[in-house]
Amino acid sequence: MKLTWRRSPYEPLAQRWPLVPWPGQKLVEIELGVRWGPPESPSRILVPVSDIHVQRARSGFAPGMGEFKVHRVRFFNYVPVGIRCMAYNHQSHRLAVSRSDGTVEIYNLAANSFQEKFFPGHEGRSTEAMCWTKGQRLFSAGLNGDVIEYDLEKLSVKYSVDGFGGPIWSMAADPSGSYLAIGCEDGSVKLFHVAPDKIQLERTLERQKGRILSLSWHPSGTHIAAGSIDYVAVLDVKSGSTTQKMLMDRRHPGPHRRRCVVWGVAFLSDGTVVSTDSAGVVQFWDSETGTLMQTHPLSNSDVLSIAVAEKEDSMVVGTAEGTIFHFQLIASRSDGKQSQWVRTKPFQHHTHDVRCVAHSPTALISGGVDAHLVIRPLMEKVEVKNYDAALRKITFPHRRLISCAKKMQLLLFQFPQRLELWRLGATEAAGKNEDILPLSRNAEHLLQLKKKGPENICCSCISPCGSWIAYSTASRFYLYRMNYENNSVSIKRVSKVPKLLNSALQILFSADSTKLFVASNQGSLHVIQLSEGALKHLHSFPPQSGTSEATTLLAASPDGSWLAAAGPSSGVSVYDLKHLKPHCTVPAYNFPVTALAIAPGTNNLVIAHSDQQVFEFSIPQKQYTDWSRKVQKQGLHYLWLERDTPITHITFHPQKPTHILLHDTYMFCIIDKSMPLPDDKTPLFNQPSLREASENVRRRHAHAFKISKKFQPLLFMDLLDEDTLVAVERPLEDILAQLPPPIKRKKFGT
């Protein structure tokens, strides 16, 4: 362990890199697995172990009510994987995003851009292209040569078909949605016919010389433009022959004469082919004659992606420097007869390569190697100028990746390819508000569990007592038994798992760690009894009639009598565990559920939705509680509703039944149901000012939502015991430091 350099007095407090320790903080070096760039790039980073803060979380009437010791954890080395390709579906306003490890995520852009569905990745898969065909079917193709269809109901891979052309570089669906064209490594463009249950290879068009890196269909479905290395070819679909071949001249800047790679191509309905290549130019070609009509040199580095709006009056391109450019068709004469493509706006929201872009009717969407998903609404397309017209940047996950065993103070971190178990540090000191307490025992990395097989981990959980760890990939379920003696940890795999547990979408342990609840991808819920020797399958709840949707969230009541399960679009179903039968269903809401929890004692189910609405449903009475009705009647504060990130975890205080603790990425809130609700005129974030104010002012202005923005960006927050909280943070700079090398930017004076 070693301390690093001190901070200079001129640095602003917001600067966090290099990781300057607080006085008394210890740092641990972590070896990074991947080295990028020249040898001087860091292969080890310094990560602080958790240190303990004392913070008065909120000030209520009773002094000392809201004082917590906070374990501030920063050793969760979460690095999001870069985005490789995306596809926008106009009918359902959904965006399918694929990352470089094969993970596919589906964002519902109409529901506050919430990540609804998640398909874990696979080591052998590396997706290069995705597309939607008619009937909301999603296909992806990658370098392993397969075309994969995803089952959006069951959240699994339906099947994969070999393309027989080597690695597949690009894929496009024709406008009618009945054909799929793929561009392969060997230079062939293959057509697949999309049948209701699977796809079938129909024929191969004329084979080209180099690998086909980009494809685009003409809106009429008669021609395909294929971009390869040094040329763009226009193929006639009916005959399969090449009608036109446009050669790029090798104007690659710089001393290295490299070939010009056409990364993106788009075919417009008037016969114009737009090509973007590695020389940094966007060129407009006439496909009839094969001549170059316009050329726009954008940058010195590659222009990697292009997307055209449905109306074909605007398009967006993304470059390797992280800039996206907006092109618009502007009438050049006053009577509007002639129009020209003009480059209008550059946007710099990324630091690394922008590998894919999409154009929705009102927004430009881009994603790249820096793992941000940026949604930029276009001002001229937005009707109402409200908060929806603001820039959205999605970096942190919308699901919970961390589980906590409260009694043993253990945290289980879920990475795509391993699990890490840490024990939190301890302190004996006491302090007042905003003090940093020294650790008497440091946080320990107890266990690293690598996944078996090529598939990534889908979900994981640790039991509250800490002695069971379960995780699941897309095809197998793993359960481990843990043993803690003195200072050592031993782990043993439970091999006799019931056969029906072949894979799980969600795993949850009951509060007393005797039962395991597994939501399988067939739609059913299994209840398993845990014991030392073997597992006993107690019951399986079949999927709700009417919907065979997969369950994405589970919550169990602390007394062990109720279980709540939520899917992406159906209502929340509640099951009675004592009698093992379904109990009731909360009425469906048109926004997906982001977090679920059941309160101890009152057995109220608290549900958070992606539009930031919070509902409280009483399970024994099968109706919404009075408090929830009150909130709905008055409506939530407008600042609360304008939050960007969804609530990912809800928890309760065992001694204080009126408190609900919830958090999203940038704030942590305690809702006190006994206090009055704020209306739009009162300031929502008034905790810091109320702390200094006098008793009278406090009584007048205090309201139910006590929000703290001290810990940001939060990945997880939980209540360990009466006066201890754990907050897992992930500063953005730590993620940035581990990304691949970006393009060099030359700034004057450096």
Binding site: L143, N144, P167, G254, D353, E733, I743, K744
Partner: protein, 252 residues
């Protein structure tokens, strides 16, 4: 006047000016005349010419004539001499090489024998292969058991050239996929791409601020790793030496 060093035998020049045939009269006169006024003593060529004059009085005019045949013969002699020398050198090198090869073969033979014994200890019994083993010429003097062992060892060594691997493991390491990934890596991050490290990228803003700050990662702890390691080793050795020296009683 400059007294140049005496030059070697050379053609004799007439003292007087060389004149054309028209001035034959002057020729005879020139012989009688003394040297120019410029060189009253006769000049630099005087002495040698005088000597030569005594020797080669007949050869005043034309240089010696060599016949073509004699010159050719001389050239041929030289060539032959050179060729012979080259051939001799080549022969010498060849012999040297041969000797070295033999030496190596012998060394290999010597080395091979204990290795074969070791392999025989670990290898499983195989079917008998009938082969002539010239390398075991040295081992011929040993007992028959050892010969059999060597044969067995030779057999196992032959089989060890094949390695079995599961196709299931090979599935994920698709060569084509690797080549495709290499293509992307080459074009986006390869030679001509203008890439920089994340550290330099983030530090660019620090340099433009009104109060200039150091780079984001200012100290690189990986520099000179080898030197640091060798320094550590040296330090340990030095301390050990000092410890030993202090323990040993100093007998004076």
């Amino acid at each position: 006047m400059v007294n140049l060093r005496p030059r070697g035998p050379r053609r004799v020049l007439p003292i007087g000016p060389v004149v054309d045939q028209e001035d034959e009269r002057e020729e005879s006169d020139s012989e009688e005349e003394e040297a120019d006024l410029e060189f009253p003593d006769g000049g630099p060529t005087m002495e040698t010419v005088e000597e030569e004059e005594e020797e080669d009085e007949d050869e005043n005019e034309a240089p010696e004539e060599l016949t073509f045949a004699s010159a050719q013969a001389e050239a041929k002699k030289d060539e032959r001499r050179l060729r012979d020398a080259l051939l001799r050198d080549k022969q010498l090198l060849k012999e040297k090489r041969k000797r070295r090869e033999e030496l190596f073969a012998e060394q290999k033979k010597r080395k091979l024998l204990p290795a074969t014994l070791l392999e025989e200890l670990t290898a499983a019994p195989q079917t008998i292969i009938k082969e002539s083993l010239p390398r075991l010429g040295k081992g011929n003097t040993e007992s028959e058991n050892q010969e059999k062992k060597e044969e067995k060892m030779f057999r196992t060594r032959v089989k060890k050239r094949y390695v079995a691997c599961r196709l299931k493991d090979q599935d994920l390491i698709d060569l084509r996929q690797q080549a495709a990934k290499g293509f992307i890596q080459k074009y986006l991050y390869g030679r001509g791409s203008n890439r920089t490290t994340v550290n330099q990228f983030l530090s660019l803003d620090n340099k433009r601020l009104p109060v200039k700050k150091p780079a984001v990662q200012f100290v690189n702890n990986n520099w000179g790793a080898e030197r640091k390691q060798s320094a550590k080793k040296f330090k340990k050795q030095w301390m050990h030496k000092k410890k030993l020296a202090s323990r040993r009683p100093n007998i004076t």
